[in-house]
């Protein structure tokens, strides 16, 4: 697409989605969905995975610059030939990222998707 033609043709300025009045039925609808069992289960399941996984990857990632800075001599220890601990730790970050991504996607397919589907079905019915 050309620059500036990224968006579908707009004859008139698009109206912002009307922000509904506070007590409109729409608001009740979303809040209602938010309080369903399926939705709560979904949010809980997601955070139960995402929160510890995020804490873990941040900790693992920042352990690298921190240990390079705090224990430079340990990190310069050579493991095989002239390949040192610092380089192996750096490489392990790639493995860590790929593994965590794999676990997340597996969990999402098994747990999050069916729950989200349940909420979508309910939303389709219960308007």
């Amino acid at each position: 697409m050309e620059i500036g033609k990224s968006l579908p043709a707009q004859g008139a300025p698009p109206k912002e989605p009307a922000r509904p009045e506070p007590v409109g039925s729409d608001v009740v609808h979303w809040e209602g969905l938010e309080e369903t069992d399926e939705f709560r289960k979904l949010v809980n399941a997601r955070w139960r995975f995402v929160a510890p996984a995020t804490v873990f990857f941040l900790a693992y990632y920042f352990a690298l610059p921190l240990s390079n800075g705090l224990f430079p001599n340990v990190m310069r220890t050579e493991i095989i030939g002239h390949i040192n601990l610092a380089y192996i730790f750096a490489l392990s970050q790639f493995v860590m990222a790929w593994l965590l991504a794999y676990f997340y996607i597996r969990q999402a397919g098994r747990v999050f998707d069916p729950l989200a589907e349940a909420v979508r079905r309910r939303a389709g019915k219960g308007r």
């Binding site: 990224s6 095989i80 790929w98 397919g109």
Partner: protein, 568 residues
């Protein structure tokens, strides 16, 4: 005209024809829009990789490793791990709630006029900063291909704009790229990014294999050779951390300054990606959250593989050529031509030249140099197209149509008018980035620049606004505007006070760190929170909280998600 230049032009020409043809094909078929909604996960993954891996990855990281050893590899690590932030927190909710731009998600809850204006501001800032580094990268390539160009053009560029003389090579190639992108020849479609990603991976694999072949695939011999390269200042071997930012030299806030720089860099690297407007736009092209997820997985596979290869590319250049000999023109024996200064952005092309000559003779060197330079150029052009698109759509869609024409000047906006505004924006951002490139200096490392400015703005301005919009119930318009504007301004201000990226560095800069993320990113988040509480006190924006319920359900489940409206 030299063989290299001719070959370079041929390869670039072929690439442009292929991408133009691919884009045209998808443009004229009836299935265009349908295809737009059904971009497959792997296709989008390749496109994300194409949009993401710019001159910073292809030229910059190799240059940092070639000149500073191990420390440069930190960029590779951080830029991959960053995708976990995207995968866990951003990709699926963005797909479920988004339309065309980042600001659409924010405007869901927030008052549209201030939030769209602020988001247009931060998006243009990120894009200009990102593009400035691409201009330096493209300039480095031209300097290698036409070593005398700068000298010959100097008389025509002997005037200053705001105290800065433009760099002739950068100005020339930058202007040509902008004209090409704006005229619409280069199209920022998914296919362009896919073609470019494949070329880039191909180039990296080829050079990595040749480096390994040089050492007869003996990994330990390769590392022996790297170990034998010593830094002249710290005397450390290149396998060791602590060359780019030497440890134990200075302290800041009572902590080793090198450690602070590295942690600050790490913050920008892993939090910035999730706030890059041109990457976020990619999630609107896939049909659903599942496809968004799998496209991140594909992107992580490709990007990670490339970054592992920077080991061979960067260390290879350090071990085989040495930093003193990486410059625009080399004489017999791969020594820097007299009077030229080393330029680390040229490590990749020089490595190609060296390996080609070693294995296939002089012509082989010229050919491989031309090929890698062409791949790098295609990479830069594709990223510039993506950035231009992000900046100009933020400005024309979010600010001009969404704010100026909807709320100030009423009336209809013709498509022609919108395109005109987009093109003018693109031209201005392009000119700004050419000037910035000259201001920063043609030898500044492009990876350090992208991570040091664009990623910090993205992490301090955009990320808090996006995260809090999606996940914090009390967040409101005031908080969003505070982080979008405040994060951008604080980052630019701190960078301007800092030591800069070219040597000799400013001796006593007003702000001591090159990487300002450790200050700017927390400031961005704090501004978002403080802004929210002030807005709360003023009872200025009660709808934002009510609308949270809607965005919460939509982000988590995809209820009512738009069928992808962004064409492929």
């Amino acid at each position: 005209m030299s063989i290299t230049l001719t070959l370079f032009l041929i390869v670039v020409g072929i690439t442009l024809v292929i991408t133009f043809w691919a884009a045209r094909r998808s443009n004229t078929t009836v299935q265009f829009w349908a295809a737009g909604r059904s971009i497959k996960g792997w296709q989008n993954g390749l496109a994300i990789a194409g949009d993401y891996m710019s001159a910073a990855s292809f030229l910059g990281i190799a240059g940092l490793i070639a000149f500073n050893g191990y420390d440069g590899f930190m960029y590779s690590v951080g830029w991959l791990v960053a995708y976990l932030t995207v995968l866990f927190l951003i990709a699926e909710p963005m797909r479920n709630t988004g339309k065309y731009t980042m600001a659409d998600v924010l405007a869901y809850r927030m008052s549209p006029v201030p939030v769209r204006s602020a988001a247009a501001f931060s998006t243009v800032a990120v894009s200009a900063a990102y593009m400035m580094a691409q201009m330096i990268g493209a300039g480095s390539l031209i300097k290698i291909l036409l070593p005398d160009l700068d000298k010959n053009l100097r008389p025509y560029f002997d005037w200053a704009i705001f105290g800065t003389k433009l760099d002739p090579s950068i100005a020339l190639v930058g202007l040509m790229m902008m004209i090409y992108v704006i005229a619409g020849g280069m199209v920022a479609t998914t296919w362009v990014q896919i073609v470019k990603a494949v070329l880039l991976m191909g180039g990296a694999i080829l050079l990595s294999l040749l480096v390994l072949l040089y050492f007869n695939f003996n990994f330990l011999a390769f590392f022996d050779k790297i170990y034998s390269v010593k830094d002249s200042v710290t005397k450390l071997p290149f396998t060791s951390p602590g060359i780019l930012y030497p440890y134990g030299k200075a302290t800041i806030w009572g902590v080793d300054k090198a450690l602070v720089e590295n942690v600050s860099l790490g913050l920008a690297l892993i939090l910035g990606t999730a706030g890059l407007p041109h990457i976020l736009m990619r999630f609107f092209t896939v049909p659903n959250a599942k496809a968004a997820r799998s496209s991140v997985a594909w992107a992580m596979g490709l990007i990670g593989s490339f970054y592992v290869m920077t080991t061979f590319l960067g260390f290879g250049a350090a071990a085989l050529i040495g930093k003193a000999n990486i410059c625009a023109k080399v004489v017999t024996g791969f020594k820097c031509a007299p009077g030229l200064k080393p330029n680390n952005n040229m490590s990749m092309p020089r490595l190609a030249d060296f390996l080609g000559t070693h294995f296939f003779g002089t012509t082989g060197g010229e050919f491989l140099l031309a090929f890698i330079a062409a791949v790098a150029f295609a990479t830069i052009l594709a990223v510039v197209a993506g950035l231009t698109l992000a900046a100009s759509s933020a400005f024309s869609h979010d600010f001009y149509v969404g704010v100026v024409r909807t709320h100030m000047l009423h009336g209809t906006v013709s498509e022609r008018e919108q395109v005109l505004v987009a093109r003018i924006t693109a031209a201005l951002v392009g000119l700004l980035s050419i000037w910035l490139a000259a201001r920063v200096g043609a030898t500044a490392n492009v990876a350090a620049l992208v991570a040091g400015v664009a990623f910090v703005i993205a992490a301090s301005a955009n990320l808090p606004a996006i995260l809090f919009t999606l996940f914090w119930k009390r967040f409101n318009t005031w908080g969003a505007v505070a982080s979008l504007v405040g994060g951008t301004v604080v980052t630019i201000w701190l960078v301007a006070l800092g030591p800069g990226w070219t040597l000799p560095a400013v001796a006593h800069p007003a702000f001591p760190l090159q990487n300002v993320g450790i200050v700017a990113i927390p400031v961005g988040f704090v501004l978002a929170i403080v802004g929210t509480f002030i807005g709360d006190l003023a009872k200025a924006d009660r709808l934002a909280e009510l609308k949270f319920h809607e965005i919460d359900v939509r982000a988590q489940t995809g209820v009512g998600a738009e069928a992808s409206p962004v064409p492929a």
